[in-house]
């Protein structure tokens, strides 16, 4: 029985589509032109300038730290939420729970940002990296929960009960039975959360405090007065680092057998 080639074809075309702007971005980071006047010659000046911009590196570090932390926490909360929503589905608590998880997805970001700021201000909480972290976890939880929930469709908890009947404790059941089964959902959710956090601008803008700039905030304001090619250079560096890390981890996992 012949398998359709269509899915593979679509995947390849879409990958090409996804990388088109990335190619432009990388090429332009070597463009001597500041305003994109067209190719003005090969130049490493933007990379050289990056060495003298501690503010940008600080912002990048902040973004990364928050993204990692927010991903970990929102994956934990999101997974427990999804498990609860699926396992105890019909109860009144879960229906309220579902509404609570669903709604952050539909609130416009500007309003979420301003209302969070007002809430923090009213509570006297000082703005800073901490408040950004709290805000990010809040909107990521919903995304993770819904993604893991998608994975849980038709999942029968009888498997869990069977394992426990066979004598497995909670820890073992969790580690050896439940988590492996929903791992792809958790991974997808984690990738989603990380992406959302590292690129968030609107909400972060409102809840950031002095000295706690993230990369998106820096970039947005640089677009107005600064040099976009600098950001292209930074992005190229980040991309290179990420690709290397992924390639390395693939190598490691392959050698583990």
């Amino acid at each position: 029985m012949k398998r359709s080639r269509l899915p593979l074809l679509v995947t390849i075309v879409v990958l090409f589509f996804l990388y088109l702007p990335i190619i432009i971005l990388v090429v332009n980071s070597f463009n001597a032109s500041r305003f994109g006047t067209g190719w003005q010659g090969f130049s490493m000046r933007w990379y050289a300038r990056l060495l003298h911009e501690p503010e940008i590196w600080r912002a990048a570090r902040n973004s990364l730290t928050i993204a990692l932390g927010a991903t970990v926490l929102s994956v934990v909360f999101g997974t427990t939420a999804a498990v609860a929503l699926h396992r105890f589905a019909r109860s009144r608590l879960q229906r309220f729970h579902y509404g609570l998880v669903y709604t952050p997805l539909v609130v416009p970001e500007i309003l979420m940002g301003i209302s969070l700021l007002m809430a923090f201000a009213a509570a006297g909480v000082r703005l800073g990296l901490g408040t950004i972290f709290l805000a990010h976890v809040t909107f990521c939880v919903s995304f993770v929960a819904m993604t893991v929930l998608a994975r849980l469709q038709d999942f029968d908890f009888a498997v869990i009960e069977a394992a426990q009947d066979l004598g497995a404790g909670w820890g073992t059941t969790l580690r050896k039975v439940l988590l492996p089964l929903i791992a792809p959902g958790i991974l997808a959710g984690a990738l989603l959360a990380f992406t959302l956090s590292i690129d968030d601008f609107v909400i972060t803008f409102f809840v950031a405090g002095p000295g706690s700039t993230t990369l998106p905030i820096r970039i947005y304001s640089m677009i107005k007065y600064g040099s976009p090619p600098l950001i292209n250079a930074l992005s190229t560096i980040l991309l290179t680092v990420t690709f290397t890390a992924v390639a390395a981890s693939q190598r490691i996992s392959r050698s583990k057998g």
């Binding site: 703005l127 000295g211 700039t213 640089m222 981890s249």
Partner: protein
């Protein structure tokens, strides 16, 4: 599952970076536009005063205001535009300045202060002056006339942009009819609306930042723009020219202000005075291609800027140009017109 150890390592690395270095020096928190001070100058200030300067950036006056109004604090110095300053002052968000801590204020250009909103520098000191005007490609735009009516040109249709700024664009409409750009007369405003609606059919889009790239790359032929930006573009593409419309234009000024709840008040004052040391003022002017209104600083500027009519307007043009004032309750009038302009078919 094979991802786990790597994830754990990354989390540990992240946690490690959370450990912050000790804060023994005072910190000056500035909230401003991106790349608004020459980096050398900041470093010089840090060295001379044994402190650290932390710069946070915003991309619009309104965003900064919305954030501060909703309760954000922690900043010692801000650089809003003048009209925003008068708004913030009326909302009691600013501190009066102690002129005793500002010896360099004597260098501030008195000619500028004559048209300033805060003439006595009670709560604000001007930092940079920007003129709005028309930038165009000399080789592509035939018969250029320094007038707002260029936006009516049919041969430039689809290759022009207007600023996506309510005050700037409605202001341009008002100026083209000979009215004040701070007008609150409904009749005048209605006429200005008609003008802008007419211009809207000729432009490619409303654009606030990307006109720079647009004109440099030839995507646009004529753009509504700010002087300093265009001066920077000209260094790369000499075909770009900048002109102030003869009907007069908008002059924007960014001021240095200290918010009421600032921590490092004395240090903020020292910084303000530092910026008006003539040498520093001239350096920042050259860095940004805008104009710091510092009389002694003018003499230190290179000819490229000193003789540039886009930077130093002729007296008659200056007389016909205005600075934006805050409209207060009349803001709603402009909002309605802007809405109608934006949503018309």
């Amino acid at each position: 599952m094979k991802r786990r150890p790597i994830l754990a390592l990354l989390v540990l690395a992240a946690a490690a970076s959370f450990v912050s270095c000790g804060r023994s020096r005072p910190v000056l928190n500035i909230y401003t536009w991106a790349e608004y001070f020459k980096p050398d100058i900041i470093r010089r200030f840090e060295r001379e005063n044994g402190c650290r300067v932390v710069i946070d950036t915003f991309d619009s006056n309104e965003a900064m205001y919305a954030k501060l109004k909703a309760g954000a604090s922690g900043y010692d110095l801000l650089t809003p535009s003048s009209y925003m300053v008068s708004l913030m002052s009326s909302q009691e968000m600013l501190q009066p300045l102690d002129h005793g801590l500002l010896p360099n204020l004597i260098h501030v250009d008195p000619e500028y202060l004559k048209i300033a909103i805060d003439k006595t520098m009670h709560h604000s000191v001007p930092y940079m002056i920007v003129n709005t005007g028309l930038a165009y490609l000399k080789s592509k735009v035939a018969d250029f006339v320094p007038s707002w009516s260029m936006f009516d040109r049919a041969d430039l249709k689809g290759r022009m942009t207007l600023l996506n700024d309510m005050r700037e664009t409605i202001g341009a409409g008002l100026k083209s009819l000979g009215y004040s750009l701070n007008s609150t007369d409904p009749h005048e405003l209605r006429q200005a609306k008609e003008v802008v609606l007419r211009w809207r059919t000729r432009i490619a889009k409303f654009e606030n930042e990307q006109y720079k790239t647009g004109i440099a790359s030839g995507e646009f032929l004529l753009v509504h723009s700010y002087s300093g930006d265009i001066l920077q573009v000209q260094r790369e593409n000499p075909d770009v020219a900048f002109a102030i419309p003869r009907e007069g234009t908008a002059i924007s000024v960014d001021d240095l202000v200290i918010p009421k709840a600032a921590g490092e008040v004395r240090l903020a004052h020292v910084f303000i005075s530092f910026l008006h040391d003539p040498r520093t003022a001239a350096e920042n002017t050259v860095f940004l291609s805008y104009l710091c209104p510092n009389k002694e600083g003018y003499t230190l500027l290179p000819a490229e800027l000193r003789d540039n009519p886009a930077v130093f307007m002729s007296h008659e043009l200056r007389a016909r140009s205005e600075i934006f004032a805050d409209l207060g309750a009349a803001n709603a009038l402009y909002v309605k017109i802007w809405d109608e302009i934006k949503s018309a078919k």
